[in-house]
């Protein structure tokens, strides 16, 4: 092999490895969360190892909401299922009984 080709080949090899790394990173399953503290519904840390609030159930709102926007997430239709649209006079608007109102609140 001629010496002047060596740097080019090395560069190509590095480029290939770099691309491989990128692909493998992209394909790796995303780890959703790093280790985190559980919290009670009052926002207090639960630490079973020290016994701190360890008799309380954890609160998703306080625990997950510490990093993620819980209020924004729970606007999603899986959480509302029509609750954000229903009202006491909903039936009058629809000219249907309220039990047939939007979403899962009466209708299927």
């Amino acid at each position: 092999m001629e010496r002047q080709h060596v740097p080019r080949l090395a560069a190509l090899l590095l480029l290939g490895l770099g691309l491989l790394l990128l692909v493998s990173v992209a394909m790796a399953r995303e780890r959703a969360c790093i280790p985190f503290h559980l919290k009670t519904e009052d926002g207090k840390i639960i630490n079973p190892l020290t016994g701190e609030n360890a008799d309380q159930p954890y609160s998703p709102r306080q625990t997950c909401g510490a990093c993620h926007n819980y209020d924004e997430i729970t606007k999603g239709y899986h959480f509302q299922q029509g609750w954000d649209r229903i009202s006491d006079d909903f039936g009058k608007k629809m000219n249907k009984p309220w039990v047939l109102s939007d979403g899962m609140l009466g209708k299927f």
Binding site: L49, Y58, G76, F108
Partner: protein, 729 residues
């Protein structure tokens, strides 16, 4: 609301699924009341609400149970224990449900038993710093989606996932729910991923955030782009109008393999589900929704105008027609009160399945409801209705049962879309040819669909044929059957018979040999205008016959070889058809006057044109002989019929199904006769009368030929010739 969160039948061995919590991940209405306040905090602040007539708080114990916050782990934690969550909810341990079901900790004690639940965390999940380490999944695994959708969608549409028996090609290739239903991230819709609005299709019945309908990628999106390696089928074997009129699911989900719901009945106060019926053997119908059972969907025209597979889930229930003219569905407890009153009189075989269908049974229940609903504060007027099988039943002033077609929302049957459990292409409808749908017994038209689960007079299901349900009238179906069973298969035989008959004629009778070659062609029989008209008519007819043959027999191999795509072949057929019509009009203008019948034609016909008998006989004929005149007018009529129907078929997509089917059959039937006639015409114009075809080239015939074949015309020609001679001299 409180009771609904964890309500439902309680079986100590199998806890079952709670009403709301069974498919609600928490948050929203399970956390906040109608005024947007947390149930637990508000009840603690206002304990009297538990006695108030308020649906959110009446007889509630939110202050003890806590609320059901959105349980992130329900979706994002592989191995989440869904039955444990159900158990916690049913026992009013709302705020403990996630801790217990996630396996983070064990919960002992139930609020429902007036205990204070206690948590014992699994310390092995925690680091020394007290932080928990969980292998959460993003996006959520399909198994977790199945917790809720497996139950509800089995009933709605026989849906299953990760089920080899009720397979789905996408599932089999490792796709997950989130691949098709990702979190929407669309600036145009002002929706970001964090909002957890998931891409969805266009479900007919459900009405959760219909504004987000069609945010999912469609079958066409993926299978035209090759998204995620999706195959890109050309569907060359499928007629273009089928691709337009039918949703992909119609062909690709021919059969479901687990029992969906046929319907439900709430007469007893409980919702009693009926799995799809085995109409061939009712006693061997599946026992439960989700049991292995092969069934075919019904078909319905959906929002985007295509025919798609659905499951109707027939509802049998009671309403009260109030003073405001609205039918209010009765609550289970209201039905139960009336049913309990008449149960002994009814004496149904199964007390949980009274299946009211006789006028006497219905009268008993409606009368009982009229009595038990008296004083019900929900209503200003008591007028109970029974809704079943597209009819509603109520009592008149004399207390007799009146049956009417149900035009209320209750009688409106709309099916749940079936769009999962996609079969491999080899199992799709059409993979084995048109007969998959158009054979005499195919489910698409002839399959029976239940319209009333307990119909009169014997309580057995009432059915209607699938085709009838989506708008195909019986006569159209039988017309289509004529096309499929007789016209198509026997058209080839007819052609062969015609050719065979001509061969017999040729071998028996032989050609009419005129002294064509010994005497030169010198008389103009066909001028240029007529030759061109004939040429256009002949060439366009050949193209029509060729493309028509491809359509008639759906010969995909020939189509691909000749035209590449069905669309090209269709356009060629249209263009050739229009040219043929124009040429035919011109031919009427040119030859119409010569095609009038003359007295000597009787002799020609009596002697059968000299074509039969084995001996040559002299037959008189004008410029066109009687046979040619008959052929001329016959093809004129056939052109009119196939032309009118053909032009209508260009606009087939705008025609009603019945008219389209009728037009198509008429077009095909007369086209077959047309082709058979033209084969005979071609025979007579070529080998049966040697030398005749050359007229199409130069337009001239010899005197001998003219004398022999068109004696009367030749006489006229000679007279004209004689008359012109002195003038020339």
């Amino acid at each position: 609301m409180f009771e609904w969160v964890g309500g439902g039948p309680t079986d100590p061995k199998q806890i079952g699924t709670p009403f709301c919590g069974g498919c609600h991940p928490g948050g929203g209405g399970l956390e906040f009341d109608r005024d947007g306040k947390r149930y637990d905090q508000r009840l603690k602040a206002e304990p009297s609400l538990a006695q108030a007539f308020d649906g959110d708080y009446f007889k509630s114990r939110w202050d003890k149970s806590g609320v059901v916050e959105a349980d992130c782990l329900l979706c994002h934690l592989p191995g989440y224990n869904f039955p444990e969550r159900n158990k916690q909810l049913k026992m009013y341990n709302f705020k403990w449900a996630s801790t217990a079901a996630s396996g983070i900790g064990q919960v002992s004690g139930f609020v429902k038993d007036n205990q204070e639940p206690v948590v014992r965390y699994n310390k092995r999940l925690f680091n020394d710093d007290g932080k928990i380490v969980l292998e959460l999944a993003y996006p959520p695994p399909s198994e977790n989606c199945n917790f809720c959708h497996g139950i509800s969608d089995s009933k709605k549409r026989g849906f299953s996932w990760n089920d080899r028996r009720n397979h789905d090609v996408h599932n089999a290739r490792g796709m997950s729910c989130a691949d098709c239903h990702p979190a929407i991230d669309n600036p145009a819709l002002k929706i970001t991923k964090i909002q957890h609005q998931f891409a969805k299709g266009d479900e007919n019945v459900s009405s959760v955030r219909d504004d987000l309908d069609n945010t999912i990628m469609t079958c066409r999106d993926c299978h035209s782009q090759g998204y995620m390696g999706a195959p890109r089928p050309a569907h060359l074997g499928v007629r273009p109008n089928h691709l337009q009129k039918l949703a992909c699911e119609t062909c690709h989900i021919p059969t479901l393999h687990i029992a969906g719901g046929e319907g439900f009945d709430v007469t007893t106060g409980a919702m009693v589900n009926y799995p799809v019926f085995n109409l061939q053997d009712l006693k061997n119908s599946p026992k439960r929704i989700g049991d292995y059972f092969d069934w075919h969907p019904r078909y319905q025209r959906i929002k985007r105008g295509q025919l798609a597979p659905v499951n109707a889930l027939l509802a049998v229930f009671f309403t009260n027609l109030d003073k405001d003219g609205i039918h209010y569905p009765l609550f289970g407890r209201e039905n139960k009160k009336a049913y309990d009153k008449i149960k002994d009189k009814l004496q149904p075989k199964n007390p949980m399945k009274p299946e009211l269908h006789t006028p006497e049974q219905i009268k008993l229940m409606l009368t009982a409801l009229s009595e038990t609903l008296q004083g019900n504060k929900r209503f200003q007027q008591i007028k109970p209705y029974y809704h079943k099988g597209g009819k509603h039943y109520h009592l008149n002033e004399k207390g007799e049962v009146v049956v009417e077609d149900d035009h209320t929302y209750a009688g409106h049957v709309e099916g749940f879309n079936i769009n999962h459990n996609v079969a491999p292409a080899a199992l799709a409808l059409g993979a084995n040819g048109c007969g998959d749908c158009h054979s005499s017994e195919a489910h698409m038209f002839k399959g029976q669909i239940v319209t009333d689960m307990f119909g009169p007079p014997d309580g057995k299901p009432l059915t209607i044929s699938s085709g009838r349900l989506f708008g195909c009238q019986p006569w159209v179906f039988y017309l289509n059957q004529f096309h499929q069973l007789y016209l198509s298969p026997y058209a080839n035989i007819l052609m062969l018979l015609v050719v065979f008959g001509l061969v017999l004629h040729y071998t028996g009778q032989g050609p009419k040999v005129a002294d064509y070659y010994k005497s030169p062609p010198e008389i103009v029989w066909f001028p240029l205008s007529e030759r061109w008209t004939h040429l256009f008519r002949m060439v366009s007819f050949l193209i029509l016959a060729f493309t028509g043959y491809i359509f008639f027999f759906n010969n995909i191999t020939l189509l691909r070889l000749s035209f590449g795509t069905p669309q090209t072949a269709v356009v060629v057929h249209w263009v050739a058809g229009l040219i043929f019509i124009a040429a035919s009009i011109a031919s009427v203008a040119l030859w119409g006057k010569y095609a009038r019948f003359a007295p000597y034609d009787k002799e020609w016909l009596a002697k059968k044109g000299g074509y039969i008998g084995g001996q040559e006989v002299k037959v008189p004929a004008g410029r066109l002989n009687a046979g040619q005149k008959i052929f001329f007018w016959l093809t004129g009529i056939l052109t009119l019929i196939t032309g009118v129907t053909g032009v209508l078929l260009i606009f087939k997509e705008s025609l009603p199904l019945s008219l389209s089917c009728l037009t198509s059959t008429i077009h095909g039937f007369f086209a077959v006769i047309f082709v058979a006639s033209v084969i005979a015409h071609a025979y007579l114009g070529t080998i049966a009368n040697p030398g005749t075809w050359q007229v199409l080239v130069h337009g001239k015939v010899s005197r001998n030929w003219a004398k022999k074949h068109h004696s009367e015309w030749y006489k006229e020609y000679e007279q004209q010739e004689q008359a012109q001679k002195p003038a020339q001299e």
